[in-house]
């Protein structure tokens, strides 16, 4: 992963490129462009050519307002919470117009000495906007000069250290642990959140598309199943009405059908008797040519047929043919006669619904 550190000094704009491998930062490249008038988009664009993931920015000391303050405590959080009130009245304008950070210069049991680092929010916003117009959103805005001078005001007033090796080393230290970050509150860096939000939105859109396709498919399946249900219900009702047109209302079709069938069966049993003509007709249609029937008997329970056939195969064939129209068809007797005819007896039952 490549990290860029833009070191903005009064004379030039430097870019130190670092390669991050785990926790190790290694300086891999440097570029510089001189600043002739003021910082602008073209200058930044000409400086950054590589694909760099994160950019840190160090601004020159002349953009900062520095104030030294003493505190009777050395707790960092306490200092952070109270420093803005301490600076009230000693900065030009309102303290809320500044982005305030601090560097602890001295710390002891009795108190601490702190360098307040302030920058006007309007100026900081201008700087961020210039970088944004070049497609760069600095993650941290700091000043390596503070690190170089250890926050000591007496050194800061002198000429800035221009040794590149020292500045690169300071930049490396800043990348590891920034001494100050002036991008705070409403000017805070939100690039990561934006990236995350974009990724999340893209993923959510993909999931939504997938779910929409899936729901369309399920709705189509539902509509198809419902249509089939309507069609089948209509079909079964038509069949039922065809058989029992006197039934005005169909509540439970199967139960009603079974009820009617039971009633009809019981009535048929007492009114119908044996349909001898039907049985004879079926027997005649299914007994085949090689069979002669001599005896027929029907007593309401069983139908008995006696006759002769040319072969056992013919007897089996008659049995099979009768099985399609009668129930429990069985050959109870089949034997060869003296005249090479096969005498047989078939017992069967009428098919009942």
């Amino acid at each position: 992963m490549k990290i860029g550190f833009i070191d903005w000094t009064e004379e030039e704009l430097n870019l130190y490129v670092f390669e991050k491998d785990g926790e190790i930062l290694e300086h891999v490249d440097s570029h510089s462009v001189p600043i002739e008038n003021d910082l602008n988009q073209l200058l930044i664009t000409s400086l950054i050519k590589d694909n760099i993931e994160n950019i840190y920015l160090s601004i020159p000391l002349n953009l900062l307002t520095l104030r030294e303050k003493s505190f009777p405590f050395s707790d960092r959080d306490k200092i952070r919470a109270t420093i803005a009130f301490e600076l009230e009245g000693i900065l030009l304008g309102n303290i809320s117009d500044y982005s305030v950070e601090h560097v602890i210069i001295e710390s002891g049991d009795t108190g601490s000495k702190v360098m307040a680092v302030c920058v006007e929010k309007a100026r900081l916003l201008e700087i961020i906007d210039v970088f944004s117009s070049a497609g760069i959103d600095p993650k941290v805005v700091t000043s390596i000069d503070l690190w170089l001078y250890g926050g000591k005001a007496e050194y800061i007033l002198g000429k800035p250290i221009s040794d590149k090796t020292l500045r690169i080393e300071a930049a490396k230290q800043e990348l590891t642990s920034p001494s100050v970050n002036l991008r705070q509150d409403d000017l805070a860096y939100t690039g990561d959140i934006e990236k995350f939000r974009k990724n999340l939105r893209s993923s959510a859109i993909l999931i939504l598309i997938f779910l929409i396709i899936l729901s369309a498919n399920s709705l189509f399946g539902l509509a198809s199943a419902k249509n089939k249900n309507v069609s089948l219900t209509k079909q079964i009702n038509t069949i039922y009405r065809n058989v029992f047109p006197e039934d005005k209302k169909i509540v439970d079709l199967e139960r009603q059908f079974r009820g009617h069938l039971k009633r009809l069966k019981s009535k048929k049993a007492s009114l119908g008797g044996i349909p001898v003509l039907d049985i004879l007709s079926k027997v005649a249609e299914n007994s085949g040519k090689n069979v002669t029937l001599n005896e027929f008997n029907a007593d309401g329970k069983n139908i008995v047929l006696k006759g002769t056939a040319k072969s056992f195969k013919d007897v089996e064939s008659v049995k099979n043919m009768l099985s399609s129209v009668f129930e429990n068809v069985r050959v109870t007797k089949s034997s060869a006669d003296t005249d090479k005819q096969i005498g047989f007896t078939i017992v069967m039952k009428e098919k009942i619904l």
Partner: protein, 170 residues
Amino acid sequence: MRIAINRILQFDRALLLIIVLCILALITIITSYVSTRNFRSNNTTLTKQISEISSMTEGVIQMKGLVESREKKIGSNKAKGIVSTMEQILGTLNLKAKVIKPLSKKKLTTFMEENAEIEIQDIDLNHIVNLLYKIDTSPSPMKINSAAINATFEDPDKFILKFTVSLLTK
């Protein structure tokens, strides 16, 4: 990360809308899946019922027709007795019965059953069929309780027909 997610959910309305739509789509999928499954199971049952009922339809219509015809006949029956009714039927076919023996009368739930045993010798198959058809279509409600047809030794085309028949009266 949690703070970032909270921030996004609070401020990214588009994302919130997408999430709401995803939830709605999920609800649609689940409910339609359950309903489809119910419909499909119902359809399977209906298909089974249709095939079962269809296979019985013809038989049931026949049975119904028979029962209704018999009930109608019973309602309008003016026959005097089983013996005279049978003699009348045999007469129309020029047949003579060797035996016409009246049997017991039975009382069933809503009607009476008057039985007789008939035996006809040397009858051919054509006359058997005609006689059975006449009994079936007779205006008097009659039913055959048992029947036996035996070929004669002398002439295999002639038969001995024995059957018991009932006349149904109110």
